[in-house]
């Protein structure tokens, strides 16, 4: 749909502009749900400074294809209007924005569900990999089992 966006890039994004773009010229949209993911300065259970920097690798081509598939699946499940997905790659620092997912719809239930669905599927199906710089050196981030569980609760259609 016009107004949709899937964008993989190094540059930061403007949350206000992206959120406005979800409903610009669409007076039938009454609800927008968004998610922003940021680089934390620590790991679970670790203290501040545990993560000094992060770099994000991806699989060009497949990334866009996977995200388009996830958005298409969300459209099949909910009556939504526009979806915008932005994911940064390259070098990032704690506090930096990593990902934006925004969904507009007539009513809030669909927008919330579709936005969370896209994030959950992105976490398990989109080819991004994080590498953290820690005081003990660089390490690739391990996949979280809770992310698999989050994606699985939407049932069927996975992979």
């Amino acid at each position: 749909m016009t107004g949709d966006l899937i964008d993989i890039r190094e540059a930061d994004f403007d949350v206000g502009a992206e959120t406005a773009a979800l409903t610009a010229g669409d007076p039938a949209a009454g609800a927008v749900a968004t998610f922003v993911g940021l680089v934390r300065d620590r790991n679970d259970g670790g203290g501040p400074g545990g993560v000094a920097a992060m770099s994000l690798e991806h699989y060009p081509g497949m990334t866009e294809k996977a995200l388009a598939g996830i958005v298409e699946e969300a459209r099949g499940r909910w009556d939504i209007r526009r979806v915008r997905v932005i994911h940064r790659v390259g070098d990032l620092s704690p506090g930096d924005r990593i990902v934006y997912v925004g969904v507009s719809s007539a009513h809030r239930g669909e927008a919330f569900a579709a936005c969370e669905f896209v994030m959950d599927y992105l976490k398990t199906r989109a080819p991004f990999w994080k590498k953290e710089q820690t005081p003990d050196g660089a390490r690739w981030v391990d996949a979280r089992e809770s992310d698999d569980q989050a994606a699985e609760r939407w049932g069927g259609g996975g992979r």
Binding site: G37, G61, V99, M119, K123, P127, W129, W140
Partner: protein, 83 residues
């Protein structure tokens, strides 16, 4: 020929991001391609021992039983961690 691509920790372990492979006829699935590549010894055996190895054929995430044919682009990588 099959174009094989590696990402993230696997790319680092193998010391390369891609290669062109002309596998024997016995290679008909992702799993058999993986085994063929791993059998070449160090560092390729990392493909056989990698925990939770994931794969994509022509940029679609697939299971290890997925078919593979000449001309395909096959990628191996660890579980994804974006977002």
């Amino acid at each position: 020929m099959i174009q094989v691509r590696y990402f993230a920790s696997l790319r680092e372990a193998l010391g390369r991001s891609s290669e062109s492979v002309d596998p024997p006829p016995s290679v008909t699935t992702v799993a058999s391609l993986r085994d063929h590549l791993a059998a070449r010894g160090e560092p390729w055996n990392a493909l056989g021992t990698a925990r939770n190895l994931r794969a994509a054929v022509n940029q679609d995430m697939v299971g290890m039983e997925a078919p593979v044919a000449a001309g395909d682009e096959v990628a191996f990588f660890p579980p994804v961690t974006g977002g």
